[in-house]
Symmetry: C2
Subunit: 510 residues, 2 copies
């Protein structure tokens, strides 16, 4: 709604398709500059329909002020995302908004994501989840480029009111304790929170705490980045403008950029979940994942399963890097890991596969937080941490009492941001009052919409998404964790999964 | 019903469970001597309930006249089926009825089967389909032994009538053109039939004929076995008594047993489907499959998918042996292949995966035979060639007209044999008149049952099986081929798949 304007954190790029990972609807969004570039071309949406055969040559779709071109993309084939990113920048300029995929997607692997240009012209902002990279590859589109020649400026009905409203958003973000904490520490702040709540995924989601969590927490990350200096940044914006700047640049020992960003979900799924307590190793895994073009959550969870299968010991730092190299090199084992934890568990003979609808559970152990568990079981997109985030508002996280209502409340709060195209972290500032954003819509479009009307629209979206899944053959029985979560106790909380099919069905009812 | 008696082909062993391959009900049956041994112990059924944890040690369940023992089975762990078979024979005697699993099952792989003793005391008769080996392994049972000390003799109500009825079955089998053809050529006779009907699976189920099919047909097999002599046998019984003797012993160039039996389904899925036109290579693949403990159909189909993914050229004889060695050695690629073609296609990024409900399509290209296609879409067990075998009775195989009724007719005919515990090939002799078998039941048990009553019982079984699947979360949308079968023409017949969900649902209605 507000992409291309001066409103903070309003330029998220949303990518959607039928997910080959879950078999249902998928929307995955990314920061970066592509949303801005699309707005500057005067576009709101780009749709790719149908798919040529797999014998068709790779194409780059180039969108500019003079139209759309399908250019030869074969020179990008098989290359890592970082190299593709450089080749695209060389050809189309660092300021072009580029979207590309890695070797994992070219090989149609289920955990492959889509990489989008960050403000430095590096494709490192991921619409990572749901295997959307494989969808793009199945269309034989190896990259899309939105040229930096767009001349369309936002044309507000009431520019003054819009300017005032935009300033108000910045103030709200800066005043909010959650988003301002993210400014200093980024999402890494969640490590300590989850460790204390006993929901930090550990040892393939069999535990909720890990000894030595402080080695990979926000303070250690902050101190490491500060100490190493160089290209490192504790605070960094994935898009402009942004008043939160939760991103970071994690430097290697020589101060050179190793990976940007390194986020909590990755630190948990590729860190604590594998008993890896070394930020350098996590950042290196993250870098290889970005280069291979895979989701760090789904591959992290798959590596956890591989470790449970005995392919390596938990905590083995060399093994996890080797696993990631196998992913990048698309070896048979790499293919298994880049297929996500559900498929990996089948192939590796493991029962305890942490997923819902085939998508890996994010970094909150569900037996310890029944609100998040309810959300995982209710999302039309498989287990999802950007949807219905209850954790901060659960008085008794391990109890399922009242969690249908709580999850639904936060499903609406989160989905409002997706519907606006805003960064998910803006929700903390407007969760009790959407007026600041609705006022901006009025000032821009002269469309008056009440908070209730907006929520009705959000709920209608959820209904349509669930209907899509039903039409795709997904049933109530698919919205479950694997049996082990119901049978086996999480030691730190003494909890098993106790949410019934009936309860989770209520949380999907709109 | 008649196991342990003098009735030909009546000692099939039926093994059932919830299938990890399809997620639904599974019954898979095998020839060999185990059925006889169970009857001699006075048993009709052995049920294994629950499962210990994966840390439990491997057990052998030994059933004898003095009771049941759980013995240590750790000495069998990790060994191939042939070696396991020898070790079991050494310990329990060649005449004991043994059931064991291979390394694939120990690793819980989805295409793993269960191997049962043949009359020579070699575990080479497979209940191959549906991943039942993995189910047995999940219970930490590495072998079951039915000792040859059973003293229970069949106690007929009317021995004279039974003896007469038993002779009548032999005469019916010998007079029947289909079963008598199997006596000479075994199931290999199907190669020429399917080639001429254009439904011989070729090149990962993209074609229905192959140039040079005569190199792997029944006559070539017959001539090869005859010429090599030695341990080779063109005619061989998997159980005693049997008047059909469709089995064979395929010898190597020196006349030593290479594999017994080599059957049509394997010759197609591991032969024509991979463009392999060399019986020695197929027999060697079959031997390795038996040793690894995997189903030749599901792994053959998975190799077809791997070849389509470009992992080897179709027809590459060295590559297919290497693939099978990877299966036996449980390498990452071997795990992928031993997970069946549905999972392999996901991991290898291939759309054209020949399966229904996750179980590989048997050796009849469905676009060319809509009767078999209807059957594949109707079986509660995934694509299955022992269920509703219409091919010999389709006037226009490529047309779907009348195929709901035809498939249902043969579903009943085939299911009667399963319900009786008879070999499926007896059906040709009693398809129009079940009286000869029903008379045997009367003579044995003094139970009078009409043909209609028996069919009602069979239909009730099918209803229960479908209800099991529904309860397990399988829906009408799961009974489909992959999209490619609907989109892409089989060149030899010009046909695509045109059976609708509504039509296949009718064929599952009882």
């Amino acid at each position: 709604m507000l992409a291309g304007t001066t409103v903070s954190s309003s330029d998220r790029l949303s990518i959607g398709a039928k997910s080959p990972l879950t078999g249902g609807i998928k929307e995955s969004n990314a920061g970066g500059i592509v949303g801005t570039r699309i707005a500057r071309q005067g576009l709101r949406c780009i749709a790719l329909e149908d798919a040529p055969g797999k014998e068709s040559e790779w194409k780059i779709i180039v969108v500019g002020k003079d139209g759309v071109e399908f250019e030869d993309g074969t020179f990008l084939e098989g290359k890592g995302v970082y190299e593709k990113s450089d080749l695209l920048a060389e050809k189309y300029g660092r300021k072009a908004g580029c979207i590309t995929i890695g070797p994992a997607a070219e090989n149609l692997l289920l955990a492959s994501g889509i990489a989008c240009s960050d403000p430095h012209g590096v494709c490192s902002r991921y619409a990572g989840r749901g295997g959307l990279g494989a969808v793009m590859a199945s269309k034989r589109v190896i990259a899309m480029v939105i040229l930096d020649d767009g001349e369309v400026q936002p044309d507000m009905v009431d520019p003054e009111a819009f300017k005032e409203g935009s300033k108000r958003i910045v103030k709200l973000l800066k005043d909010n304790p959650v988003s301002s904490l993210f400014t200093k520490y980024g999402t890494a702040a969640m490590v300590d929170i989850c460790q204390s709540l006993k929901v930090l995924p550990t040892r393939n989601f069999t535990h909720g705490t890990i000894e030595g969590a402080e080695k990979i927490n926000a303070q250690t990350m902050y101190d490491t980045i500060e100490k190493r200096g160089g290209e490192g940044k504790t605070r960094h914006a994935c898009m402009h403008p942004c008043a939160i700047q939760c991103s970071n640049v994690y430097p290697d020992k020589d101060g050179k950029l190793l990976c940007s960003p390194v986020e909590y979900e990755t630190m948990a799924l590729m860190g604590s979940n594998l008993c890896i307590k070394n930020l350098d190793v996590i950042a290196e895994m993250n870098r290889i994942a970005n280069d291979a073009g895979v989701d760090t959550l789904d591959v992290g969870a798959a590596i956890g399963v591989a470790m449970e299968a005995g392919l390596a010991e938990f905590g083995d730092e060399k093994a996890v890097i080797r696993f990631m190299e196998e992913v990048r090199d698309i070896t048979p084992l790499g293919r298994i890991l880049a297929s996500g934890c559900k498929v990996a568990a089948k192939v590796l003979g493991v029962r305890h596969a942490p997923h819902v609808l085939g998508q890996a559970i994010p970094a909150y152990e569900p037996r310890g937080t029944k609100g998040m568990a309810m959300t995982y079981l209710s999302s039309p997109m498989g287990a999802d941490h950007t949807f219905g985030f209850t954790l901060r508002d659960e008085e008794e996280p391990a109890s399922k009492e009242g969690k249908v209502e709580l999850s639904k409340k936060f499903q609406v709060i989160g989905s409002r941001m997706d519907a606006m195209g805003m960064c998910n972290f803006v929700r903390y500032s407007v969760r009790n009052d959407m007026t600041p954003l609705l006022d901006l819509i009025k000032a821009f479009y002269n469309v008056e919409i009440s908070a209730d009307e907006f929520d009705d629209f959000v709920k209608e979206t959820l209904r349509i998404e669930h209907q899509f899944n039903t039409d795709a053959g997904i049933t109530a029985r698919d919205y479950r964790f694997t049996e082990t979560f119901y049978e086996e106790v999480q030691p730190e909380t003494g909890e098993t999964m106790d949410i019934t099919d009936e309860e989770s069905a209520l949380a999907r009812q709109w």
